[in-house]
């Protein structure tokens, strides 16, 4: 089959958008209040360690995706069981993000539209993107990303009048404990979520370095998040942060330039959705690949539509309300994803290192044997 390849730059851009993705909806309102930007930085620091494992796995198995790696390391049967669980995780989170998008749209403007319509429409768009394949996603994100960057920069600059640095004070008033608990939450969502990229790390361009992709995106995306969080706190204060459901969206509403440019929150909403859309696409793309692998379907494009629609339908009854969803994302998701984000990659990494070392030893010994 034709092998899909995305360039290093496209992979970086995809990962940055992925990292920024959901957090524009879900990041706010933690225990650490005005210190949340410090929590983001802590989370980046912690993620730097874990991401090294991800990148190492990608480096050890060039041109192989996670499912194949599991097969190689743990055998056909056990490997497939792990793939099954991992595919469930991808499916679940993918559906949750679809739910995110549709709830966001429903709450901020289309309040009388049934949420299932919005979910299905979202599903159609994602299904088309997934069906078109990874290369197309890479190209698509290369167009969206510059527009997105320009948009956010403009919004940031326009809101410059509203910043009040005093809202960031006092720094670390309640000590490090709440900051660390928030950092743990932010570590799981979004930074450790980059484990998903292992599902198609085999499609990274051959000469590209997984380390570069992972670290570059982690740092750029992470520091962007820290700035966004700090900006939001400076604009509306820590107390309001936990009051609003979508603080980032609210900050755009505050922007006023003269009497002319106001109420531009819709632009912000469009930016947020296009970002989150990318994240959902990445998840559901990986899910589709996982399903294709499980059922030995050579061409994953064919099952893109059914599997994405399944996710978008599953998303409808997934949560009763947006508040429940945000609670779940903040309190349960970090623990729920430990096996997939930490245990599985570390296990893969350790087994791979041991196996490879063994192989190296045997291959190193073999020529000697032959010589003797």
């Amino acid at each position: 089959m034709y092998k899909e390849i995305i360039s290093q730059k496209q992979a970086i851009v995809l990962m940055i958008t992925f990292i920024i993705g959901s957090n524009t909806i879900l990041v706010m309102g933690g225990k650490s209040k005005q210190d949340i930007w410090i929590a983001v930085i802590f989370a980046i620091a912690a993620a730097c360690v874990l991401v090294a494992v991800y990148a190492r796995i990608a480096k050890l198995f060039p041109e192989k995706h996670l499912f194949e790696i599991l097969d190689i390391l743990f055998g056909k049967v056990f490997g497939r069981i792990i793939v099954l669980f991992f595919a469930w995780y991808l499916f679940h989170i993918g559906a949750a993000i679809v739910k995110n998008i549709s709830e966001f749209i429903r709450i901020i403007s289309l309040d009388s539209t049934p949420v299932c319509i919005i979910s299905l429409m979202t599903g159609i768009v994602i299904a088309y993107a997934v069906r078109s394949g990874l290369e197309v996603m890479g190209r698509l994100i290369s167009i969206i990303f510059p527009i997105w960057i320009t948009g956010t920069l403009v919004l940031t600059i326009l809101s410059i009048g509203q910043y009040d640095i005093n809202r960031l004070k006092p720094v670390l008033y309640e000590g490090l404990e709440p900051v660390i608990s928030d950092a743990f939450r932010l570590f799981a969502l979004p930074f450790a979520e980059t484990v998903v990229f292992l599902c198609f790390a085999g499609s990274f361009q051959r000469k590209s370095s997984p380390y570069k992709i992972y670290y570059y995106s982690l740092l750029v995306g992470g520091f962007y998040l820290a700035i966004v969080v700090a900006r939001t706190v400076m604009m509306i204060g820590a107390d309001n942060l936990s009051m609003f459901m979508y603080p980032l969206y609210v900050t755009a509403r505050l922007i006023r330039v003269g009497n002319f440019l106001e109420k531009i929150e819709l632009i912000s909403a469009v930016l947020i959705i296009s970002c989150t859309f990318t994240k959902a696409t990445v998840y559901l793309f990986s899910f589709t690949k996982g399903v294709a692998y499980l059922f030995n379907i050579r061409d994953y494009h064919r099952i893109a539509a059914p599997s994405v629609f399944l996710a978008s339908i599953y998303s409808i009854p997934l949560y009763e309300s947006a508040i429940e969803m945000i609670k779940w994302a903040q309190d349960i998701f970090p623990y729920y994803s430990i096996p997939f984000q930490i245990i599985l990659p570390v296990a893969v990494w350790i087994t791979a290192e041991i196996k490879l070392r063994k192989n190296k030893n045997t291959t190193a010994e073999n020529p000697q044997n032959q010589a003797m």
Partner: protein, 504 residues
């Protein structure tokens, strides 16, 4: 499938088997061209040796009578053939006939198609061979400035219908032996002549091979327009976007050749096909390279912007007015609502209806004789515009939006077909889901654009590669000395097109 085979074999069964006797040969040709009154048979003999009989076959109207008289009949009659004893067809060909192109053959297909194309066939008594002598002659229109690609500063020459004249226009601009022309015929009945034109060493061999393969696969009775050939061989056949471009200007064609693209010239159409063709080329004009680069960049951005506007303006209007009225500044909203007072239709119906009305006006304007233009403008502007607003059937704001849409749409004429489709698609989505529908629609269209390729080259290559050097000649036009490299993938190994900055 079966039908195409029968058409393909249809005119193969008629053929000529060249015999010795002149009479028999002529009879065979007569049978083939029976019921065709323009088919002319002219017998004559040499004035010195009356036993050498000749017969000249041609189609009236396709030949230049002057040429036949001066270069064939006159020398054949007047030359003293009795001087050399062994008069055969070779001596006739080499010593008597005064023509730049003479061919000796027995091949029936060649002979028949030569007659059809306006050459004449000379038969001789006691001879198995026949001579095909060039005698084509017909009037073609003189070259004019193409209506579709007007320029302020640049050559005014445009392609014409005959293939060979078009080839000569290109050749005059590129004086290099590397410029290659490959002639082939397509269409079982029309046998339309195609010229495939490329510069050896710059054009990508893989793309050329792919093109030839696709052309060979075309089995059709006739190709009359280059546009219909493009539809048969282009990628993404179901897409509204065209992946093969066309130009009417020889200088644009030459510039495309220099970038490594390949031209397909179809005899009878002044529109030359350019491939691979990418989206950014729809926004380029050859004026851009003649005028100051600030100005060209500005007008290019204007073109891109108007493309975006013409596609999204009605959709955004519908979305804002139906779902997000809070987004519109209050004074503006007040005046829009005042204009909408008493309008019986919802915004989406109003907008779609007016878009349709505008498309009807545009279509009429193209197909209509010029003398009716006044009637059209009265009907369009007065009846559809003013009267509809005054009768409170549509609001004035919608007319403004649709007028803006139409005006910006005229700026990118070549993208007309995708524009119309996407505009209506987005407007309907806006009616369903507001601005989010528009966003989803745009993502769908962008995804579609990302999937398209033109002969293996991604349609949006320059925009999606994230390489700054690919953007130098897209939405902006940087100074010419910046454009050091030919576009990637399109050209083969020879990538550098100019020396260092301004020749230093």
């Amino acid at each position: 499938m079966k039908e195409t085979q029968t058409t393909a074999e249809n005119n193969v069964n008629k053929s000529v088997i060249m015999l010795k006797a002149l009479k028999d040969n002529v009879k065979q040709f007569k049978d083939i061209f029976q019921n065709d009154d323009t088919f002319m048979i002219r017998y004559f003999v040499n004035s010195y040796q009356s036993q050498i009989r000749f017969c000249l076959l041609y189609l009236e109207g396709m030949i230049d009578a002057e040429k036949i008289y001066n270069s064939i009949i006159k020398p054949l009659i007047q030359t003293n053939l009795s001087e050399n004893k062994t008069t055969n067809i070779d001596t006739i060909m080499n010593q008597v006939i005064i023509s730049h192109k003479v061919e000796k053959t027995q091949d029936s297909d060649a002979l028949i198609s030569a007659i059809i194309r306006g050459d004449s066939v000379l038969l001789m008594e006691n001879c198995y061979d026949a001579l095909i002598i060039a005698s084509k002659g017909w009037k073609s229109r003189s070259t004019t400035e193409p209506e579709g690609e007007k320029v302020i500063r640049g050559p005014r020459e445009g392609f014409v219908e005959p293939l060979m004249e078009n080839l000569s226009m290109i050749r005059r601009r590129l004086a290099t032996p590397d410029l290659k022309f490959k002639i082939m015929h397509i269409g079982v009945r029309t046998k339309t002549k195609l010229g495939i034109c490329y510069i050896d060493g710059i054009a990508n061999k893989q793309i050329l091979g792919e093109l030839l393969e696709r052309l060979n696969k075309v089995k059709i009775d006739g190709i009359l327009l280059s546009g219909s050939l493009a539809e048969l061989i282009q990628d993404a056949p179901y897409s509204p976007f065209e992946t093969i471009g066309s130009t009417e200007k020889p200088d644009v064609a030459a510039a495309n050749l220099l970038e490594g693209r390949i031209l397909v010239i179809v005899d009878g159409t002044p529109h030359v096909l350019v491939l691979p063709y990418l989206l950014e080329q729809f926004f380029q004009s050859d004026d851009d390279y003649a005028l100051n680069f600030y100005f060209s960049s500005f007008s290019r951005m204007l073109r891109v912007l108007s493309f975006i506007l013409t596609v999204t303006a009605p959709a955004i209007y519908v979305a804002l007015l139906t779902y997000h009225q809070e987004m519109i500044p209050t004074p503006l909203l007040m005046s829009i609502l005042a204009a909408r007072q008493g309008i019986p239709f919802p915004t989406i119906v109003e907008t779609l209806g007016l878009i349709l009305a505008f498309e009807v006006l545009r279509e009429t304007g193209i197909r209509m004789p010029v003398s009716l233009a006044t009637a059209l403008s009265i009907l369009g502007a007065l009846v559809l515009g003013t009267a509809a607003v005054e009768a409170r059937i549509v609001s004035a704001t919608v007319i403004i939006v649709v007028a803006l849409t139409g005006l910006t749409g005229l700026m990118t004429q070549k993208l007309k077909s995708p524009v119309v489709v996407i505009r209506i698609f987005l407007t309907i989505l806006a009616g369903l889901m507001g601005i989010y529908g528009v966003l989803y629609g745009i993502i769908l269209v962008l995804t579609h654009l990302c999937t398209i390729r033109s002969f293996g080259v991604p349609y949006l290559m320059s925009y999606t590669s994230l390489r700054p050097e690919d953007l130098l000649d897209t939405a902006m036009r940087t100074p010419i000395w910046f454009l050091k490299k030919r576009p990637r993938f399109i050209s083969s190994s020879n990538k550098i097109r100019q020396a260092n900055r301004r020749g230093n």
